[in-house]
């Protein structure tokens, strides 16, 4: 039926025969889209006397908000910390490939690197909307170099730094510019970090605590100064101790400023965190859990050796180690694998598993009015999923940007 032309000429699509994730639960509702946004069909009916131009039968699939990956170091042979000549096409390749994993927005992550690397790479990362060309880029996640040498994980020790006299200026000089930066991971016990955390927070940059030996009160102080995220909980930090829970203690800390929530990234690939630990974290603070892939260049590729910034890593199945060691370094699990594994390991509801990869990262970055939900007027970035949470199709701004073909590839 024709729609009322007085408000908008754009075609209206109605996705029917589906269950949508809205209001924290899966509801038997249709999803309406116009001009790249989720449309309120009741308003359309009564105010505009409008109706759908096209109806698409989703055959009973689940429609969920697109996944948001806030920690991904590369994939498909591309390493975001390596300044190659074709860096731009590398990031384009990854953003296009991860559509099949259900990721519609991401933060390309750079591991600890020398200043020259940041100066070369950051200007080549443009914050941009997603589309048929690939997932949207929300800004870079700079993991390091202001971290703890003791908890370097797979980061190169020689590039790890403490702050010079004028901490924030030092950070600015190291990165070159903060224009395209969305998240910075640092170790709060480093002298000067309080000033830095406040300055970054003032500029709307999310500060994350990670690769650190901070104790709980140092972590709490960092949160009071503005930190809101924990980088891959449990990994590269002091283990939970009952008399000093360290950064892990933030999950149940009573010193979090009113109205704020601490989020924490979890790599739920079955390797970085024992399922029991995943469950403990989830049960302690379910609303703060953010699924991340922490994927490295080898994700999507055959087993073998690949680079990760200044290092070499070795992939064997889902395990990735610094070549020649047993030190874990990033992962090769895809985001949809992480969502499925999280759901299985915690026996949580489908809604909870999906929100951990969509709503929570959107809340972390303060963009939940546009992303991470299927609420009216949000960006129409969504996925068609099977009951087992396998991605069947990916949509960005209401356009289909990826579909699983008949052979399931």
């Amino acid at each position: 039926m024709p729609s009322n032309k007085s408000v908008s000429d754009a075609p209206i699509a109605q996705f029917t025969n589906c269950r949508i994730l809205r209001g924290r639960r899966l509801q038997r509702e249709d999803l309406w889209v116009r001009e790249g946004k989720i449309l309120n069909p009741e308003k359309l009916f009564f105010d505009e006397k409008g109706s759908a131009d096209i109806q698409l039968d989703c055959k009973g699939s689940i429609l969920a908000p697109g996944f948001i990956d806030v920690q991904i170091n590369g994939g498909f042979g591309v390493d975001f910390s390596l300044p190659t000549d074709d860096f731009k096409s590398g990031i384009d390749l990854v953003s296009q490939k991860i559509l099949s994993h259900g990721v519609t927005s991401f933060c390309p992550t750079l591991v600890t690197s020398p200043p020259t690397v940041y100066h070369q790479i950051l200007p080549q990362i443009s914050v941009r909307n997603g589309g048929a060309h690939g997932a949207g880029i929300l800004g870079a996640h700079l993991e390091g170099p202001f971290i703890s040498k003791e908890k370097k994980g797979a980061h190169p020790e020689h590039c790890i730094r403490t702050f010079k006299e004028n901490a924030f200026q030092d950070l600015l000089a190291t990165y070159g510019s903060l224009d395209r930066v969305r998240i910075v991971t640092l170790a709060p016990e480093i002298k000067g970090s309080s000033e830095v955390i406040q300055e970054l927070t003032k500029r709307g940059i999310c500060v994350s605590l990670g690769h650190s030996v901070a104790n709980l009160s140092q972590a709490e102080e960092a949160v009071q100064h503005g930190a809101t995220f924990i980088t891959h909980l449990f990994n590269a930090m002091l283990p939970f101790h009952h008399r000093d829970p360290g950064i892990v203690g933030l999950l149940t800390s009573d010193k979090i400023p009113a109205g704020r929530r601490v989020f924490y990234g979890m790599i739920s690939d079955g390797i970085h965190t024992n399922p029991a630990a995943l469950r403990i974290a989830h049960r302690a603070h379910p609303k703060g859990l953010v699924l991340v892939t922490d994927a490295i260049a080898g994700m999507g590729l055959a087993p073998g050796r690949h680079t990760l910034g200044q290092q070499m890593v070795e992939i064997d199945g889902l395990n990735t180690y610094i070549a020649g060691t047993k030190t874990l370094s990033g992962s090769v699990a895809t985001m949809d694998m992480c969502v499925r594994h999280f759901q299985e390991a915690t026996a949580c509801s489908v809604e909870t598993a999906l929100e951990a990869a969509s709503l929570h990262p959107a809340q972390l970055l303060g963009i939940e009015d546009k992303k991470g939900t299927l609420n009216y007027d949000s960006d129409a970035d969504f996925l068609m999923l099977s009951d087992s949470l396998h991605v069947q199709a990916t949509y960005i701004a209401g356009e289909e940007v990826w579909r699983q073909d008949a052979l399931g590839m």
Partner: protein
């Protein structure tokens, strides 16, 4: 009148839905020749709406050439409030069928000039050629639409203050908070519904039994406004067994036989 007594709520709902469906199909509506339907809200017609949606989804019934006119709407309640009758009609009926939004008429309880809104509604009904079938319910106090006890039996669409009985009955939809319940509504008049070519009143449940008794076994009385339909040439009362509990055995036997 016809009094159709079904065993339970589900059967009564299905009977009513089938009747409406058949009326529409027999009419053979088409471009420029619409079937006009008057519609109610509330708990009673939910089962009927569900069945109509089922017939539509089965491909047996289309609302493409049907015009609808709802009976009433609260005054001062935002249109997108979950308890507004606009929300009720959207969620329980319109969003599941193929009706043209231009043909679905509901009074606007937020219109700047409420009487003008009512007058315009009467005019729209007139322009649509009158109502072919007006479906309604009955309140526990015997009211049809919001024509509360004491409403003129020849009334037209207008603003009405709700009776305390009605406000109390509605409180459950507003978190039990009386202060949140609307106190006024726009409603079609008794006269407006009497003008329809055919009227079907749905009455189910023991709590409506006394009202049904007053409406059909006692005299025409403005305290029980549904009683006006004793003077309508084509009215059907569709009810379940429980709703007949206050009727004389003789009445029930006559209509069941």
């Amino acid at each position: 009148m016809r009094l159709v007594i079904l065993e339970d709520y589900d059967q009564a709902s299905e009977w009513a839905a089938k009747y409406i469906c058949n009326r529409i199909i027999q009419f053979k509506p088409s471009q420029g020749r619409y079937f006009t339907l008057g519609l109610p809200t509330g708990n009673t017609p939910l089962g009927c709406y569900r069945k109509l949606i089922e017939y539509h989804k089965n491909g047996d019934l289309s609302f493409k050439y049907v015009k609808t006119f709802n009976m009433d709407e609260y005054v001062g309640l935002p249109r997108n409030h979950p308890e507004s009758y606009h929300s009720y009609m959207w969620n329980n009926f319109f969003k599941h069928i193929d009706i043209d939004p231009n043909n679905a008429h509901i009074l606007d309880g937020n219109a700047p000039d409420l009487q003008a809104e009512c007058d315009a509604f009467e005019k729209k009904i007139e322009e649509a050629g009158g109502i072919d079938l007006f479906v309604g319910g009955i309140g526990p106090d015997g009211h049809i639409a919001f024509n509360e006890p004491g409403s003129s039996l020849s009334s037209r669409t207008r603003l009405k203050t709700l009776a305390m009985d009605t406000i109390l009955a509605n409180a459950k939809y507003f978190d039990g908070d009386l202060s949140k319940v609307p106190t006024m509504a726009l409603t079609v008049g008794v006269g407006t519904v009497m003008d329809a070519r055919e009227v079907m009143i749905l009455i189910t449940g023991a709590h409506k039994a006394f009202a049904l008794y007053k409406a059909i076994e006692e005299g025409v009385n403005h305290m029980w406004t549904v009683s006006a339909f004793q003077q309508h040439p084509r009215t059907i009362f569709v009810c379940d067994e429980d709703a007949t509990l206050e009727l004389r055995v003789k009445t029930v036997k006559y209509f069941k036989g």
